[in-house]
């Protein structure tokens, strides 16, 4: 790799820095929010300090001055706590949290290509109130940039900017002969000697290494490109090489004197450090993870999807050729199926992230909302390690933000009102995630005033969402808050209540197949439960035949499958039928109604009892059930457009496409039929 390529990679390196920043900020948030439980815990303060320090280090390498300045100020205040000069109080934790938010803002500003970000003078003043916190100078003391300190951290950029200010930069290319090694010498000795002179970046050039079959183990193939920042003269540097005589060829070039350029032009990152073991460039104890571009994993998921389809094709060919399942081939194919299934589940979990990544951002939302509404709120997070597919996680952040704001703005009462009601003036907001029967449940629970059913009803009448006198049970009244244009607050507040609230929440949750439920007790609080699928790329479904064509219905919408007895269906209106089910009657939708063909109905033998998220039921009549299996979901919109009734499709074992039924559409169809009958009456 050449130095120019390094410069081209600068964007990628910046990206890594920002990723690391996000990690450090998340860790910071986590440690800060738990600090109040154990204010004496030295390890916590140390971790917090390291996070800030690490961000500062990276920022310095990229010349992000505002970030360096602020993190330095923050760090020097933290140092007072670390050294034990001050002890942690709730007030100082509040300050730290504010600082963390400011850091977030600055990082975000740099991420958006240097959009300007002003650090509020308030927070700077707040920090400067701490004794001896020092002037807000960006230059850290030499102690701050000790190499060991940096290598202990996740992101180990070199403080080029700071050290290079007084240094000369030498570019050195190093080549050793085979004799060099034969004499028992080692390049490491040279490199160690060079490192004593200043800051050294080492790049190994492996271009000359032949294929493994051609390698002669005693020959020397490697060359090194070094970048040395030192205060020593060229003579001092060259002296090191003279030691090894002709067996070592070194060219030393002075590339910069008193480096003042932005460090962005320097090949900063991919270097190997001499005092690390050369084979292990990063040693992070806390988690052994590999950073992989998410698109590669997506591609993997797609490929395994195709593997599943091919597997189906093999099995259908076997059936066609009458190969028995218990033959040798049959056993191999079954074992293969099992393996592919496992592979698929594993890769899908690779795409899963702990929900923590979303939860942690919400701490800030809660703090800011509480401040704006002048309420006292404590946020408790539970089950942050619950894992959710990335595609779902991405779409979860906005609805949750909105719901938390709502919970504080509308749910939790003012401290005075809470005291009067005999509650703790500090409201409790609990955010909990857990798995239940193959779905992820996220609960938002507040101990506020609870939903006021009468007020909601009045408001809905006023907004013409319902008609006065309409009879609704409690749950139906609660779900009115999800209607478009509904907002119970008389005046629009800064925080929530622009009337685009809960209906947007519901819609965005529906996009990821999420459902939402409310339970509430007056004076005690409200709980919103969101139920989410674990992944969007595979569904479990029943494949059925209707009008000679194969379709798939998601199994979690099918309550029961019963034999359809056409004689029991009874006429309830023009083209409308009812069907007995348990001790009641269901409305009937025939598959032929939605597929758009007309049939005599003689083939209709099976009735799916279909249920939607509102626990409404209907009878869906099809010809026959073929199989129950897992299906890879393909979006129709990718290459076509939205079509009513079927938003997704899958590919069957024979290579043909089958559409996946959109259950909500069936209920929409039911509604249309019902409205049709209303018009008839008028």
């Amino acid at each position: 790799m050449s130095a120019t390529e390094f410069t081209d990679d600068m964007d990628a390196i910046r990206q890594i820095f920002f990723d690391e920043c996000d990690e450090q900020l998340a860790l910071l948030e986590e440690e800060l929010t738990t600090l109040s439980d154990e204010p004496e815990d030295k390890e916590k303060i140390n971790t917090i300090f390291r996070c800030v320090h690490s961000i500062k280090g990276g920022a310095a390498a990229f010349g992000m001055e505002e970030l360096v300045k602020f993190s330095h100020l923050f760090e020097s205040v933290l140092d007072l706590f670390r050294s034990g000069a001050l002890s942690v109080t709730t007030e100082s934790i509040a300050t730290f949290l504010k600082c963390k938010d400011v850091l977030c803002d600055i990082v975000a500003a740099f991420k958006n290509e240097g959009a300007a970000c002003e650090v509020g003078p308030d927070i700077v003043a707040e920090l400067e109130r701490y004794p001896h916190s020092g002037a807000p100078e960006p230059e850290p003391s030499p102690k701050d940039v000790e190499m060991d300190d940096i290598f202990g951290m996740a992101f180990a950029p070199v403080q080029i900017k700071i050290e290079a200010l007084v240094d000369q930069q030498f570019s050195i290319s190093l080549r050793v002969t085979t004799e060099f090694y034969e004499r028992g010498d080692d390049v490491r000795n040279i490199l160690i000697a060079l490192k004593e002179l200043g800051t050294l970046q080492i790049e190994v050039n492996t271009d000359a290494v032949p294929l493994i079959g051609d390698i002669s183990p005693e020959r020397s193939y490697l060359t090194w490109n070094l970048l040395l920042a030192t205060q020593k003269s060229r003579g001092d540097v060259e002296e090191i090489f003279e030691w090894s005589g002709d067996d070592l060829q070194a060219t030393v070039t002075l590339i910069a004197d008193n480096v003042t350029d932005g460090p962005a032009s320097l090949p900063v990152a991919v270097e190997e450090k001499i005092d690390l073991q050369i084979k292990k460039p990063t040693e992070r104890k806390e988690s052994a993870t590999v950073r992989v571009d998410i698109q590669r994993i997506d591609k993997l998921v797609d490929l395994i999807g195709e593997l599943v389809i091919n597997q189906g094709a093999i099995q259908s060919q076997m059936r066609r050729n009458k190969v028995h399942g218990d033959s040798v081939l049959g056993n191999v194919v079954t074992a293969q199926e099992q393996l592919i299934h496992e592979l698929q589940e594993n890769v899908i979990t690779m795409r899963a992230y702990p929900i923590k990544t979303v939860f942690q951002k919400l701490g800030r939302v809660v703090r800011e909302t509480a401040r704006l509404t002048e309420k006292q709120v404590r946020l408790v997070l539970e089950g942050e390690d619950t894992e959710v597919d990335r595609s779902i996680l991405e779409k979860l952040s906005d609805p949750l933000t909105h719901m938390l704001r709502n919970a504080i703005d509308h749910g939790i009462e003012s401290p005075q009102a809470r005291s009067l009601a005999g509650k703790d003036p500090e409201g409790l907001l609990r955010l909990r995630a857990f798995q239940r029967s193959g779905r992820i449940i996220v609960e938002i629970q507040d101990d506020g005033a609870g939903l006021d059913a009468d007020r909601i009803y009045e408001k809905a009448v006023e907004k013409k969402i319902i008609e006065r006198g309409q009879r609704l049970d409690l749950e139906e009244i609660y779900s009115l808050i999800f209607e478009p244009g509904f907002s119970t607050v008389a005046e629009v507040t800064d925080v929530s209540g622009r009337g685009v609230g809960m209906d947007v929440v519901k819609q965005s949750l529906q996009q990821i197949n999420g459902r939402i439920f409310i339970s509430s007790a007056k004076g005690k609080g409200t709980t919103f439960s969101i139920s989410l699928p674990f992944t969007l790329s595979v569904i479990e479904g029943i494949i059925f035949k209707a009008e000679g064509q194969d379709f798939v219905i998601p199994v979690n919408n099918v309550l029961e499958t019963i034999i359809f007895d056409a004689k029991k269906a009874f006429h309830v209106g023009e083209g409308k039928y009812g069907y007995p089910y348990r001790d009641g009657y269901l409305s009937v939708i025939y598959a032929s109604d939605i597929i758009g063909t007309s049939s005599d109905g003689v083939n209709q033998k099976i009735c799916f009892v279909v249920e939607n998220e509102n626990e409404e039921k209907l009878a869906f009549i099809v010809d026959k059930i073929i199989d129950h299996s897992r299906f890879v979901v393909k979006n129709l919109e990718d290459n076509y457009r939205k079509i009513a009734c079927f938003s997704t499709a899958t590919i069957l074992g024979d290579g043909n496409v089958a559409f996946i039924l959109d259950v909500e559409f069936l209920f929409g169809e039911l509604l249309k039929k019902r409205e049709g009958s209303l018009e008839e009456r008028v």
């Binding site: 393909k634 129709l636 290459n639 076509y640 457009r641 009734c645």
Partner: protein
């Protein structure tokens, strides 16, 4: 001066062409899974190596014929985002197109033809309608 290459194909007895850069793939015609409630010219959806792709009867969409001409091939065309398959009677050849071969359509041409075609190519005496790929996509996604 050679402008570019074009794929020449037939719908019934008439020849048409599309720019070769838009052609993703050519396959033998196969029956598609019909879309419920889609326009009549949409034959359905086909699986091409794991992607679900709509199949459109080009002749029918252009209003050239209602009855089903013989369909032997599917031409898969791509734009920036989507891939759509078009069933055609047959694929003839690939020709170099010269700017001088281009002639505007006769005034009297139907609106449909004017929408889908941007001119006539005369290729050594053969009369070939040059088809707008963007119009094909717009028409298909109606």
């Amino acid at each position: 001066m050679i402008m570019e290459k074009a794929l020449v194909f037939s719908l019934g007895s008439q020849e048409f062409s599309v720019q070769i850069s838009a052609v993703k793939e050519i396959k033998e015609w196969a029956k598609a899974t019909p879309f419920p409630a889609a326009p009549a010219f949409v034959e359905g959806a086909v699986n091409v190596r794991g992607s679900v792709i709509p199949l459109v009867n080009m002749a029918q969409m252009m209003g050239l014929s209602d009855d089903n001409d013989e369909k032997k091939a599917i031409i898969f065309l791509k734009d920036d985002k989507k891939i759509i398959g078009f069933s055609v009677s047959n694929v003839t050849d690939i020709s170099d197109i010269d700017e001088e071969d281009f002639r505007p359509l006769p005034e009297l041409s139907s609106d449909n033809l004017k929408y889908y075609s941007n001119g006539i190519l005369s290729l050594g005496g053969r009369l070939v309608f040059s088809v707008n790929v963007s119009s094909l996509f717009e028409g298909s996604l109606q």
